[in-house]
Structure formats: structure tokens, C-alpha cells
């Protein structure tokens, strides 16, 4: 598979200082990017630079440091709007993480807009962060939780999904755009069509998807889209929620505090305009500055190049791993991103992860915060290799060789 001239993984690797580290005496082979990605130098430098030359609390400061820091922080909202093709920067709400974004939705939209008796639809391959908030809503407010079935290949069962809307009760679909376990990308446009045809709004958990492909919320036609900064090469402590302005305006605030008010008296407080209504307290200032740098970095490489590189990695991984005796690939979706789960017949996933670690290779093992999906697949755990823009084809080969050794070791 040929790569676009602009994509040079060796050059990209030079942008990530951590990749020169060794682990247990071996060169680090970091195949755990779906849990959290490594940070390029531009992100590290942007945060350092802010702390060294231009820092103060923002929004209400009248002095130079505060004005400049406000500008630097607010620039991330513009960068995110462009990244997702949102039409209005006021539609970008900044949170602590995607878990924060999803909880905001479950509280503000779930308790403030949905009515008892209505239903929320999730899928059979959600991360706990897109299950538990809705369960809590269900148990507290009598809003039904419905789970769309998935196929054995790990794809959304569209007929089963559509059937959930028959009684007209569904008010909201909150569904992953890409599974963090199986790599499956869900058919977002079809999901939106079906949900809208039945009068339901759609929220995507795009935590994985936004790392692997260009997200265009206007083309998708969805109503809300959430993701988390640290998986897109940005810092921890910052998450994103995009929502249509008229919907955000209808939603009550969630967290109360500084910055989200228009005026406060003991009798009654009034709220700031969106998005500030949802942003209580000192925001993640340094994190916003870091995420801005990460987005600029991703944009400078371009999603076309990223997607093509990842396709090559996934193809190689599927081919190489399938060829190893005793390895079973978990998840065989047609449309998929850079995440490959597998099991080994003779060894538990935890033993596999530890023995790979012994060879410098970082993979994740366990239920990947998706216990219900594990149960659906009749598994306790899988091992998972996941890729970033800095992952090389050679690293896939190193994984395959190491896995072959592990299998021999356990034979």
C-alpha cells in the first residue's frame, strides 16, 4: 500500500520524544494508543510555553497576562469547530473528558429535556462511560435504556437497531462511532437517518473515531458529538461536546459555579450564554492550549494520510496475527479503525500482556471498560493492540514475532 508523499512515519516519530525510550531493556513498542495517545513535542511545548511566558486565569481578567491567556485558550474552540466542521464556535462545550461530556448529556439533556417514559438507545458495544450515566438516569428518572444488538462480526445490527424505535418512545440515541474494543466503525449516517425518522436525537461517542477519521458533524447530520482530548494526542483533563445551538440552548446547566452565570443573587441566578452555561469554574486552561496544538498537529498531517496509514497497519496486523496458531481476532467488522483485539488459546490475556511487556511491547488486556460487550462475546478479556500516527509496520511485525514466542512459551 503506497503512502502519500506527505506521510513519513519516521519523521513523525521524531515529533514524539517518548518513542526513543526503552522498556525492560527493549525499544518501546507502544501499541496502547486507544487507551491514551502519546504527545508530540508541539503539545508539550505549548503547555510549557504557556506556563513559562503567558499564564493567568482567564475570561474575567483585565490585565495583559489574562487577556493573552484567554485568547490562547479560546483558540481551541475555533480549532475544534474547524476540526469537526461545526458551523458555530458557540456550539463547542469544553469538559473534563468525554466521560464529563456524556455525564453532562445524561444530566442536562437526560434530566432536563427527556421525559420519564421516554427511552435512550445505546448499542451492545459501548464503553462504560456511555452505559453507566444512562443507567443512573434510568434508575433515577424512569427513562428506559434500550440496547441495540450487534452481530457476531461486531457490527451494529441495523434491523435490530431500527426495531427499537417502533413504539415511538425513543428520545435519544447515544452510541459509539467506533468501538474501542473491536475497532468497528458504526454506520453513522444510517443511524442518524433512522433515529431522525423516528423523532429521536443522536449523540455520538466519537472518542475513538475522531482519532482515525475526519468528523464532519454537518455531513453526519447528528445532534451531538463527544470526544476526549488525550486520545487525540492532547493532554488529559479536557473533553469536548459539540451540540446544535438550539438544543444546547434548551438544556439546563449541569454544574454550577463561576463563569457559567450571568448574574447571581441568593433568590435566583441566571445563566451565561452557550457554551459558557455548561462550563463552570476555572476551565482546563493549560489543557485547552495543549489540545489546540494537538489539533493543529493532526491537521498538518491530514486525516487522509492518517486514515491511509492506519489502513495499512490494520491490514498488516490482521494478516500477521491471524497467521499465528492459536490467535483469534475478535471483531471482524468491514469498516474499522486502528484497534485490533485478540485472544490466544493457551494463555490468559493478562499473561499475554505481561509477556509482551517483557519484550518492550505495550498492549492492553482486560475488558477494556466494556464488560457487557465481553459478555456478548463470551469472553472474560482480550488483548488489544491499538495504533497511532507514529505506529510503524515494523512494530506490527515485532508484535507478531513476540506473540509467536509467547505462544511457544505456553505450549
Amino acid at each position: 500500500m503506497s503512502k502519500p508523499a506527505t506521510f513519513d512515519v519516521a519523521r513523525i516519530r521524531q515529533d514524539f520524544p517518548i518513542l526513543t525510550q526503552t522498556v525492560r531493556g527493549k525499544p518501546l513498542v507502544f501499541l496502547d494508543s486507544a487507551a491514551s495517545a502519546q504527545k508530540p513535542r508541539v503539545v508539550i511545548d505549548a503547555m510549557r510555553n504557556a506556563m513559562e511566558t503567558q499564564y493567568a486565569n482567564i475570561h474575567r481578567g483585565l490585565h495583559w497576562m489574562s487577556e493573552r491567556t484567554t485568547e490562547a485558550y479560546e483558540a481551541v474552540r475555533d480549532a475544534i469547530a474547524v476540526l469537526m466542521n461545526a458551523s458555530d464556535r458557540h456550539e463547542i462545550v469544553l469538559t473534563q473528558s468525554v466521560t464529563g461530556s456524556l455525564n453532562l448529556m445524561a444530566h442536562s439533556y437526560g434530566r432536563g429535556v427527556l421525559q420519564p417514559g421516554q427511552a435512550v438507545v445505546i448499542s451492545g458495544m459501548e464503553h462504560h462511560s456511555n452505559i453507566v450515566p444512562w443507567q443512573m438516569l434510568r434508575d433515577e428518572r424512569g427513562i428506559e435504556l434500550r440496547v441495540a444488538p450487534i452481530t457476531d462480526a461486531g457490527e451494529l445490527d441495523l434491523a435490530g437497531f431500527e426495531a427499537l424505535f417502533a413504539d415511538g418512545k425513543v428520545g435519544l440515541v447515544s452510541i459509539t462511532h467506533m468501538s474501542n474494543v473491536l475497532g468497528s466503525v458504526t454506520p453513522a449516517e444510517r443511524i442518524v437517518q433512522i433515529a431522525h425518522a423516528h423523532g429521536a436525537k443522536v449523540l455520538f461517542d466519537g472518542s475513538q473515531a475522531v482519532v482515525h477519521r475526519r468528523i464532519d458533524v454537518q455531513a453526519l447530520g447528528c445532534d451531538f458529538y463527544a470526544w476526549t482530548g488525550h486520545k487525540l494526542y492532547g493532554p488529559t483533563g479536557i473533553g469536548v461536546l459539540w451540540g446544535r445551538r438550539e438544543l444546547l440552548e434548551r438544556m439546563p446547566p449541569f454544574l454550577g459555579g463561576g463563569d457559567m452565570i450571568s448574574s447571581v443573587s441568593y433568590e435566583k441566578s441566571t445563566w451565561a450564554e452557550v457554551p459558557h452555561k455548561f462550563e463552570a469554574g476555572t476551565p482546563p486552561i493549560l489543557e485547552g492550549i495543549g489540545l489546540k496544538a494537538a489539533i493543529d498537529y493532526v491537521q498538518s498531517i491530514g486525516y487522509d494520510a492518517i486514515a491511509e496509514h492506519e489502513r495499512a497497519l490494520v491490514d498488516r496486523a490482521l494478516a500477521k496475527l491471524s497467521a499465528i496458531e492459536g490467535v483469534t481476532i475478535i471483531g471482524r467488522a468491514q469498516d474499522r479503525g486502528g484497534v485490533v483485539s485478540f485472544t490466544l488459546d493457551k494463555a490468559h490475556a493478562h499473561d499475554v500482556a505481561t509477556l509482551l511487556d517483557r519484550q518492550g511491547i505495550a498492549v492492553r488486556a482486560g475488558h477494556h471498560c466494556a464488560e457487557p460487550l465481553m459478555r456478548r462475546l463470551n469472553l472474560d478479556s482480550t488483548a488489544r493492540a491499538s495504533f497511532g500516527i507514529y505506529t510503524t509496520l515494523e512494530e506490527i511485525d515485532v508484535l507478531a514475532d513476540a506473540l509467536t514466542r509467547v505462544r511457544e512459551f505456553f505450549k
Binding site: A347, H348, A349, H350, D351, T354, L355, D357, R358, Q359, G366, H367, D380, S381, D401, T404, R405, V406, E408, F409, F410
Partner: protein
């Protein structure tokens, strides 16, 4: 692809997974429910999904006569359960607790400077598990069956990894 050395091509993997762990992990000797038992308890490590149940039969003098277990988990936890069943045989409750304390220290630190001299023998048997100290998240795999055993001795039904 495997490295070709005359001695053991898996030397690098064996610092944690010694032969006895692989062997016990694969074919545990005590990995079954006891037909007749006096106490039982379950252990659960929600972080990694390991689960174990332990059964205990006492002798007339109150010492442990037999231990059996049923485990779902990694080689470390199964091997640890198996070595535990072997080493606690013939010990009374307080002996067993002391052994667990010593084992736990070894699992966490790799050594047990405070081990009582009297425990030298069983600790020798458990020593192959000392390599887990270098893998902090795996320490719980090794200690989980012990937590379940202690819960059984205490008459508690369930134990959770610390």
C-alpha cells in the same frame, strides 16, 4: 522468529514466568472443589476479572487438612492458588495468616527480610512468584487466592483484592 540460543531461548520471559508457574498454571494439582469441606469463600478482582473460589477441610486438631480451588484467571493466579493449597496443608489458622503476610511482602517487594525463620521452607516453595513485584498490577493476581482462603478461615463469604 524465536531466538536461537543453546540454553533457553525464553530466558527473558522466565524472570516472572518460571517453569513451575507455567506448569501449575496449566495443570494445577489442587484445582477442584472438595467433596467434603468445612469452609469456602470467593475472591474477586474486579479490576481484571480474576475470580477464585476456595474450599477448606480441617483436620480434627483444627489444622488445614485439604484445600481445593476453582479459578478463572491468568497463569499467575492459578499457579499461586495451587502453590498456596500445597503450602498451607497441615498449618493452623494463625500459621496460615503468618504465611500469607510473609508471602504478601515477598510479592510486593521481591524479598521478605522479616520472614520468620520457621517459614523458610514454604517460602522457598512460593519463591517462584516473587517476580510479580516488578509488575505491580499483577501482585493482586498472586494474592487473590490467599485473600479468599483467609476469608474462608474467617468465616467470611467474599474477599476482594486489596
Amino acid at each position: 522468529m524465536a531466538v536461537d540460543t543453546p540454553v533457553d531461548s525464553f530466558d527473558d520471559l522466565r524472570d516472572l514466568y518460571q517453569e513451575v508457574i507455567l506448569d501449575r498454571g496449566r495443570k494445577p494439582r489442587y484445582g477442584q472443589r472438595l467433596e467434603a469441606f468445612d469452609a469456602t469463600a470467593k475472591g474477586d478482582n474486579p479490576m481484571c476479572g480474576d475470580r477464585v473460589q476456595v474450599w477448606v477441610k480441617y483436620a480434627e486438631d483444627g489444622r488445614i487438612a485439604a484445600t481445593g480451588f476453582d479459578a478463572r484467571g491468568c497463569a499467575i493466579s492459578i499457579a499461586s492458588a495451587d502453590l498456596m493449597a500445597e503450602t498451607v496443608q497441615g498449618r493452623d489458622k494463625s500459621d496460615t495468616r503468618a504465611l500469607f503476610a510473609a508471602f504478601r511482602e515477598m510479592a510486593r517487594t521481591g524479598v521478605c527480610p522479616h520472614c520468620e525463620a520457621g517459614l523458610a521452607d514454604p517460602m522457598q516453595k512460593l519463591a517462584p512468584l516473587s517476580g510479580v513485584h516488578d509488575y505491580p498490577s499483577r501482585v493482586k493476581c498472586a494474592t487473590l487466592p490467599w485473600h479468599a482462603l483467609i476469608a474462608a478461615l474467617d468465616g467470611t463469604k467474599e474477599a476482594s483484592s486489596e
